[in-house]
């Protein structure tokens, strides 16, 4: 079996285990390539039936407009349900306080909105597009990752995960994060997107836009970035390797207009995908710490 067939078969198997084991699952959809790939895999797992779960988007309000347009088109084509949890609602309710200053980001706040959305709808399993090659704490996480009542990951108390038998039994209030593409690398995802001809938001491909340089990274010049007189706005040819919100996702200079160019660019790249994520640069254990507090 070719490696992409193997990865696809494994992911479909995991998605069907979620359907079989849980009462109220959800698929966390960010509009990024990994969650778009998950949606494609869900179509392969459940069509011609309906998805046994809605898509859930945690909206920071700082999205790339291209991502939101793409999301809405996709949902319309699928005919599946979309639930949106707004970080703005958490801020308005006084549950979280918006960061101040130039480097303010809503990235950390979305954990609270995510947990509230899970509680409000009573989701017992949340499918996510995280991969183990992204980051070293993720390399340790199970495919069925049990979170306690507070959404927290405890790396020291993970359930052993043997063969392809996933234990999704939980107490009320707990939930399981499920990662069907754990064993895929960034390059695997791109090769699969090419093979399956999966459509992506335009910002993954090279385009010209206004950018500023912050902490050595190119950021889209958006109002959320609190641009002031010190920032120099340049018009450059860039693309995005990951799509989070505009405050924490950096662009890379790129001439990659076509998926073949992107695959070639990644092959030659000396910087990892998460190297363009400001949220990982906080400390050596930034991802581990965020997961412990309920992050994806």
């Amino acid at each position: 079996m070719d490696y992409l067939d193997h990865l696809e078969a494994e992911a479909i198997y995991i998605l069907r285990e979620v359907a079989g084991q849980f009462e109220k699952p959800a698929l966390l959809f960010s509009g990024g390539k990994d969650s778009i790939t998950l949606v494609h895999l869900a179509e392969k797992a459940f069509r011609p039936g309906k998805f046994p779960f809605p898509l859930v988007h945690i909206d920071t309000g700082h999205n790339f407009p291209e991502t939101i347009a793409f999301r809405d088109e996709l949902v319309a084509r699928l005919g599946e349900r979309l639930i949106v949890g707004y970080v703005q609602d958490s801020i308005d309710a006084g549950k979280v306080v918006e960061q101040k200053g130039k480097n303010a980001s809503r990235n950390a706040l979305q954990t609270v909105t995510l947990l509230d959305t899970i509680a409000e709808h009573g989701f017992d399993a949340c499918i996510g597009g995280a991969r183990r090659d992204e980051e070293k704490a993720r390399a340790k996480e199970r495919i069925f990752s049990v979170r306690d009542e507070f959404g927290q990951w405890d790396p020291k108390r993970q359930r052993p995960e043997l063969w392809n038998i996933y234990n999704g039994r939980i107490q009320k209030g707990e939930n399981v994060r499920v990662f069907p593409i754990s064993n895929w690398t960034e390059l695997d995802v791109w090769n699969y997107i090419r093979r399956e001809n999966i459509k992506l938001p335009s910002i993954y491909f090279s385009h010209e836009r206004d950018v500023i340089t912050r902490n050595g990274q190119l950021m889209a010049a958006a109002e959320f970035l609190n641009i002031d007189h010190e920032d120099v706005i340049e018009y450059r040819k860039v693309r995005f390797r990951t799509v989070g919100d505009m405050t924490c996702t950096a662009a890379v200079p790129s001439e990659a207009y076509h998926i073949d160019d992107i695959i070639e660019e990644i092959r030659l790249s000396k910087i990892s995908e998460r190297g363009a994520r400001m949220d990982d640069k906080v400390s050596e254990a930034a991802m581990e710490d965020r997961k412990k507090s309920g992050y994806f």
Partner: protein, 415 residues
């Protein structure tokens, strides 16, 4: 291009993390920002070179203690293959984590320190490899630089290891002398050991043929989910979704549904919009049968002429994985594919002393203990022996009081 999944066993002292770090580094799988992070962490070897071990220790607690606690999965790729490494801890205290990593591996790399030779830990790791029926073992005799790259030292280790495997179920063993720290025989052949004429580690991993035992096993198809759109145009659509675990199914095959025993014939096999003639081992597909019979999650389709025993009594080798010891008076839940059944312990056949690997009758099972137990199940199970079909002969035990996975079961016989 295919995938090779392998596990590395050995302690930090054997240079396991350094070996993996070296493989990743020398295949250009470590990127600039990751190297920068290592440099920021300022971990250096005594000779001032970069400490590659830090590439694999993902948790704060591991970095603080300099040990591997849990399995980490690492990925790299060459022109020949995609590789998935289960980097498992070697210490006796983390036996269960090694069992976890071993359950999905096709090959095991066992590291032996050239200065120390075959030690208790080598025996324990090899025993686990044999228990989980990993078909291929590669012994890396590491730290050859510390023994002047001496052929005689390598030969002695090889001889001792051959003796060790006589009593174990390991089919194929290969040996490579390496220095993970210096990079000898990792990616390039070592100039320091001209007496070794085999492939270096990477070349070996790129070309090794792993057992095709799953493909030739009897065909099994556990049903995960029933697809019934119930729309006007697809009113009669009823597809059984699942993954083939061993063997293959073809359109026209007469099949039996277990445990009910109903029989039918495969009418159609689908993968999304594609219609297939064959569903091979590992494929996630949807199967349609000629007859409308009652089938749900937990049932298993098998070929009419390849039926497993369907039984409520069976014996299994187990690895206990919970801090709360096995309670022979307790009812546990057994999960086997989509089936969850209540089980009781009938008898403890033996327990293995993990220091000496001797079996003694009876005994208590605590964390990391391995042995053989007889079970009785509330429901009939269509289960193979683990040796005959790994994918249908393994199960887990769950403690219903806290939902934890407490044991791995490798079925030895059912009656």
């Amino acid at each position: 291009m295919d995938i090779l999944k392998f596990i590395t066993a050995g302690s930090v002292d054997d240079g396991k993390s350094t070996l993996i770090g070296r493989l990743l580094y020398d295949t250009n799988s470590v990127l600039d920002d990751q190297l920068e992070a290592i440099q920021r962490a300022n971990r250096k070897n005594n000779d001032g070179t970069l400490d590659l071990a830090i590439l694999t220790d993902g948790l704060k607690a591991e970095r603080e203690q300099g040990i591997t606690i849990d399995v980490a999965y690492k990925y790299f790729q060459t022109e020949a293959r995609k590789f998935i490494i289960a980097d498992a801890p070697g210490h006796i205290q983390y036996t269960r984590n090694m069992v976890t990593g071993a359950s999905n591996s096709d090959l095991a790399i066992i590291l032996i320190d050239a200065r120390k030779g075959v030690v208790e830990q080598t025996r324990r790791h090899s025993f686990i490899v044999s228990l989980l029926a990993i078909p291929n073992v590669l012994v890396c005799v590491n730290k050859m630089d510390m023994v002047d790259y001496d052929w005689a030292v390598f030969d002695k280790v090889k001889e001792d290891y051959e003796r060790l495997t006589e009593s174990l179920n390991i089919r194929q063993v290969d040996y490579i002398p390496v220095s993970a720290l210096k990079g000898d025989n990792i990616v390039n052949p070592s100039a320091n050991m001209p007496w070794y004429t085999g492939k270096p580690l990477l070349g070996f991993l790129e070309t090794v043929t792993v057992s095709k035992a799953r493909e030739t096993a009897q065909a099994r198809f556990p049903v995960q989910w029933v697809i019934r759109p119930q729309t006007d145009e697809l009113h009669d659509y009823r597809g059984y979704a699942g993954r083939v675990v061993g063997g293959e199914f073809r359109v026209g095959d007469p099949v039996v549904v277990l445990p009910s025993g109903f029989s039918s014939v495969i009418e159609r096999i689908e993968l999304a919009a594609q219609t297939l003639d064959v569903a091979e081992d590992g494929a996630s597909v949807v199967i349609h049968l000629k007859d409308d019979i009652d089938i749900s999650r937990g049932d298993i389709l098998v070929k009419q002429n390849e039926q497993p025993a369907v039984s409520q009594q069976f014996e299994a080798e187990i690895c206990w994985m919970d801090t709360r010891p096995l309670d022979t008076g307790q009812v546990y839940l057994l999960q086997h594919h989509g089936k969850v059944a209540k089980v009781k312990i009938q008898d403890v056949v033996y327990r293995v002393d993990m220091q000496t690997l001797e079996k003694s009758p009876g005994g208590d099972f605590g964390l990391n203990d391995i042995g053989k137990v007889q079970f009785k199940s509330a429901d009939p199970l269509a289960i193979d022996s683990y040796v005959a079909n790994k994918a249908n002969g393994g199960a887990i035990l769950i403690d219903a009081r806290n939902n934890l996975t407490v044991a791995a079961l490798m079925i030895t016989q059912s009656e």
